[in-house]
């Protein structure tokens, strides 16, 4: 889904790092972590107090340990491999939050299979799916075992399935816009455009500023200026998401039913335009929350009344949401939430 002519431009170091910190907090927080105190770390010599990082074990054909290493603490000299059923215990013993055990030669085998199967003209996403399938084959053959098996039961979609799902999220010849403000100025921003079936533009705040000229400083008004400029310079917008930094951070970490719907209702988040799948998702969120704890809602009945049209909309479009999930065979939002949660936990270790 990525064009080989992809353009990525308009970010300075701060706006790019800010964007990454929203969606991949562990990547940014890793930069603030103290380095290990040695050029040749060994886990036995490290003061390990928490269970983080990945334990990697390479076995030969007789299941003899050829190598064990901890991604945060280095070489592991004393390790007994007790079989694939004991990975959790092994991870706990060596203070790791994940464990990967593979047979010697598996990495090379994956490389050979991928090189053999990838075809000229495959885009990057299609290429990644080939890699994923090769890894899955090794896993199914018992040559590559992981703990926990977070993705173990998730079916690998075909490129056609992914394309159809993307059609719902970002249709061809359309743009997706996210702008996050800090006080009066954009803290970070992102414009994605899909053209010829592929994402061909990733633009940041500098480029957006060039399209809009000076902004007024009130984000609830400025979003319209940005929307118009993007429509003029890039493509019709399929989804625009505008909010403030604190709200964005809170919502991305919020698992309370109704939080997104409530934020949209009180305009802490402006979704403009609102494509069907987002409206449905918001409606579902609102209904879920209302069913559980409607009495605790801030704004009470008034907020519910604002969401009523969404709930009505939900009834008419529920098949669309179901189709995305059915197409992929899994719920991508649920997976994203789980991934972000995991990233947050990793980041928390400092």
């Amino acid at each position: 889904m990525i064009s080989e002519d992809l353009r990525f431009e308009g970010f300075d170091a701060r706006s790019w790092t800010n964007l990454i910190s929203l969606f991949a907090p562990n990547v940014v927080s890793r930069l603030d972590r103290e380095a290990i105190g040695s050029d040749a770390p060994e886990a036995e010599e490290e003061l390990v107090t928490d269970a983080r990082g990945t334990l990697v074990v390479v076995l030969d054909d007789r299941e003899r340990v050829l190598k064990a290493m901890h991604t945060r603490h280095g070489r592991v000299r004393e390790l007994d491999y007790l079989g694939p059923d004991q990975l959790e215990a092994m991870a706990a013993q060596h203070r790791a939050s994940r464990c990967v055990v593979l047979r010697e030669g598996v990495a090379e085998e994956i490389g050979e299979r991928v090189a053999h199967r990838i075809e000229r003209g495959d885009d990057y996403f299609a290429q990644l799916l080939v890699v994923t399938r090769a890894v899955r084959e090794m896993s199914e053959a018992g040559l590559l075992v992981t703990w926990p098996r977070t993705m173990g039961d998730v079916p690998i979609p075909t490129i056609g399935m992914v394309r159809r799902a993307l059609d719902s999220v970002l249709p061809d010849e359309h743009a997706l816009v996210v702008v996050v403000w800090s006080r009066t100025t954009p803290w970070t921003a992102l414009v994605l455009r899909r053209r010829g079936g592929l994402v061909d533009l990733v633009a940041g705040p500098d480029l957006i500023a060039r399209w809009t000229g000076p902004l007024g400083g009130d984000w609830r008004r400025d979003y319209r200026v940005i929307s118009e400029a993007v429509e003029r310079h890039v493509a019709p917008i399929h989804l625009g998401l505008f909010t403030e930094r604190a709200t964005a951070r809170a919502l991305l970490r919020e698992y309370e039913p109704g939080a997104w719907a409530r934020a949209a209702a009180v305009r802490d988040v402006i979704l403009h335009p609102t494509p069907p799948y987002v409206a449905v998702a918001l409606g579902a969120d609102a209904v879920r929350a209302a069913a559980r704890e409607s009495a605790r809602w801030i704004g009470g009945v008034e907020a519910l009344s604002q969401l009523a049209p969404l709930a009505t909309y939900l009834r008419s479009r529920v098949a669309e949401v179901a189709s995305v999930t059915a197409t992929l065979g899994f719920d991508p939002l649920k997976l994203l939430a789980a991934w972000l949660r995991r990233a947050e936990e990793d980041a928390g270790g400092g």
Partner: protein, 660 residues
């Protein structure tokens, strides 16, 4: 350059990615930062409009590299051009034409004759073979076209003063020992390599414990299979061959550049991150090009890596130089803030970097964070870079030197063994080192009947000595095991890991160093086997100290003894740990002191000075002074560049401090 001395400082700007109308503003701002040279790649893919047909501005003014070079010259800038063929530059196919990467005759091969894919977005693609004759012929035609534009613009007729030969020639980041290259032309090269090394097929067979009847029988290893020392030779040869393949390819490209009229200009090659794991010999390549340097893209927390890389350049190469010192990064790289880039630059300077190319100085597609935007407007970050460059200019930094009396040797044969025994395929030693691990991270633990897993232990031993020398405040450098003898001049102590298996040629350089009065610290084992695992007599170094290092304390004990016995210099000691200080001097006296805080916590540095001294922070203008000790506040992950203003004659009393 002619009668002018200019520091080796440049900034990158990609003409073909910018509107020609923005070239003048970009170049002017780049010059105003304090950079005397502008650097640009030349992408083959962009200029080739049909096979063998090129546009250098006749059709598209944005491709008019001649006009860009001329404009730079008009603005008083020199020019550094990097015409590939591989340029990366975050371009699809790394700047190569699509027809080249999909030409089977050009493609590198896996053991099963599959292509080898470069993994980065926006498109994985089959990488070229550094051995392919077809590829080299195509490169030659590209260079001919380049030469027509560049040759008339070479110094002194024009402003071009530097040329880079290829780029980060590390097998396109698919450099694990048995990933490539099994292209028929590479296999022919392998057999020629063995012929050069052994002269006769019988000797090669003897070394490999194989039954070769003719050179064609010499099949390369496709995976690691050794269980005993005698089975290691073919793997060590394969690892050495892969270095040689790159060296020979770069030599061929340089000759071809010269044939295309591009000669009598300084040539450069750059190593990617993870250079200790990379199957390239920096010393061999420096016999092919004039300057070898490393590319720097680091977060602040990577102080030790920045230090190690720079000390290696300082101890092994002609000029410690960074052909790419990152400001910003590509989107698919670890995100880096401007503070990371600045800390990296200053820390590298602290440990001895003398020249760099700021990559990117002017922003462009598929990049973020450059100090000048694509329209030629300076961003806020430009201010700090201008201050740094101004500070370097003020003290004449390019002409200063940092003295080190101790060399830590990186034995190349052990590094090759590490590469040969790495177990994670595409997660090669280079990749592991580049992402913050070590090049021995994934090596198998087998001992092969020797003292221990040499492929892991050598690195551990070097690391322990590095930590001990740092703790003692003794300046040191890393010396490649294959470094020419002149790199050992000025050293008083050479520390080298040694095990049963050893390269006799390297050992002879060590014993020669000892015969000339140097002290050699080696161990844990006196070598006894050559690289074919044959019993060989190794001379015990005179003045040698054989040491057994099992713990960090052992290394500290040895270093303490060396400091005491040899009275090793420890200039401007600083405390508390983990603060470090480095001193740069000219022929007369110390001129610049760097204080580095590699940790996250804010600390107050207390620098012991030999006489009452005043220090001025060359970037902030703050002044610090003291009679025996100078206190300097240090933010977390920070580096100060301080001018040593000379002994202060009167700090107290009148309140006037007079620098002498």
């Amino acid at each position: 350059m002619g009668d002018r001395e200019i520091p080796l400082l440049s900034g990158a700007m990609h003409y073909w990615r910018l509107e020609p109308a923005a070239w003048r503003a970009g170049l002017t701002q780049l010059r105003d930062l304090g950079l005397p040279i502008v650097e640009t790649y030349m992408p083959w893919q962009v200029h080739e409009i049909a096979p063998g047909e090129h546009d250098f501005g006749a059709h598209d003014p944005q491709k008019d590299v001649g006009a860009f070079v001329d404009l730079a010259g008009e603005l008083g800038l020199y020019v550094f051009v990097r015409p590939g063929p591989h340029i990366n530059a975050e371009m699809t196919y790394f700047g190569l034409p699509e027809r080249i990467v999909y030409d089977r005759a050009c493609q590198a091969r896996s053991p099963r004759q599959n292509p080898v894919l470069q993994p980065f977005p926006p498109r994985m693609f089959p990488v070229p073979s550094y051995a392919s004759r077809t590829f080299h012929e195509e490169v030659g035609r590209w260079y001919d076209a380049v030469g027509e534009v560049l040759a008339p613009r070479l110094f002194p007729a024009g402003p071009i003063v530097l040329l880079q030969v290829d780029n980060e020639a590390s097998y396109y980041f698919r450099d694990a020992a048995y990933e490539q290259d099994y292209h028929p032309d590479a296999l022919a090269h392998w057999r020629r390599f063995l012929e050069r090394r052994y002269a006769t097929v019988e000797k090669a067979a003897d070394a490999h414990r194989a039954s070769y009847a003719r050179w064609d029988d010499c099949a390369p290893p496709e995976r690691f299979r050794a269980e005993t020392p005698s089975e290691l030779a073919v793997h060590l040869d394969w690892a050495a061959f892969r270095e040689d393949l790159i060296t020979q390819a770069l030599a061929k490209m340089r000759r071809r550049l010269a044939k295309a009229g591009m000669k009598n200009v300084v040539t450069v090659h750059n190593f990617p991150l993870g250079e200790q794991g990379v199957p390239m010999s920096s010393t061999a390549i420096e016999s092919v090009v004039d300057l070898v340097g490393f590319d720097y893209y680091h977060a602040r927390r990577e102080h030790r890596t920045i230090k190690r890389r720079t000390l290696y350049l300082a101890g092994t190469h002609r000029v410690p130089y960074a052909p790419e010192l990152g400001i910003g990064a590509p989107a698919w790289f670890t995100p880096l803030a401007n503070e990371d880039s600045l800390f990296t630059a200053m820390t590298a300077l602290a440990y001895g970097l003398r020249g760099f190319n700021l990559y990117m100085a002017v922003d462009r597609d598929r990049w973020y964070g450059a100090p000048i935007d694509p329209r030629g407007n300076p961003r806020v970050e430009a201010g700090t870079w201008k201050q740094l460059l101004s500070a370097m200019d003020r003290v004449g930094f390019h002409a200063l030197a940092r003295r080190a009396e101790v060399g830590l040797m990186m034995p190349r044969e052990y590094a090759r063994l590490s590469r040969a025994t790495s177990l994670l395929g595409a997660l090669s030693p280079t990749v592991l080192e580049a992402i913050g691990g070590t090049p021995v991270e994934a090596c198998r633990e087998d001992s092969f009947g020797l003292t221990g897993p040499i492929q892991v232990l050598w690195w551990k031993l070097v690391a322990r000595f590095a930590a001990a020398l740092t703790h003692a405040g003794v300046p040191y450098v890393y010396v490649d095991g294959d470094a020419p003898a002149e790199q050992l001049e000025g050293l008083r102590v050479l520390v080298t890991p040694s095990f049963e298996l050893c390269d006799p040629a390297r050992w002879r350089r060590i014993t020669t160093f000892a015969e000339r009065g140097g002290t050699v610290v080696y161990g844990p084992t006196m070598p006894s086997l050559d690289l074919s695992a044959r019993r060989t007599l190794f001379e015990v170094p005179s003045h040698g100290r054989r040491v057994l290092i099992d713990t960090d304390d052992d290394a500290r004990h040895v270093v303490d003894e060396l400091v005491r016995d040899l009275e090793l210099a420890r200039p401007f000691p600083v405390r508390p740990a983990p603060l470090e200080a480095t001193v740069h001097e000219d022929a007369a006296r110390p001129r610049v002191l760097f204080v580095v805080n590699p940790g996250k916590a804010r600390l107050e540095a207390r620098v012991t000075v030999p006489a009452p001294t005043r220090l001025e922070d060359l970037l902030s203008g703050e002044r610090f002074e003291g009679r025996e000790e100078v206190a300097i506040p240090m933010a977390g992950w920070s580096c100060r560049m301080l001018a040593i203003e000379g002994a202060v004659q009167a700090i107290e009393g009148s309140g006037e401090a007079v620098a002498s």
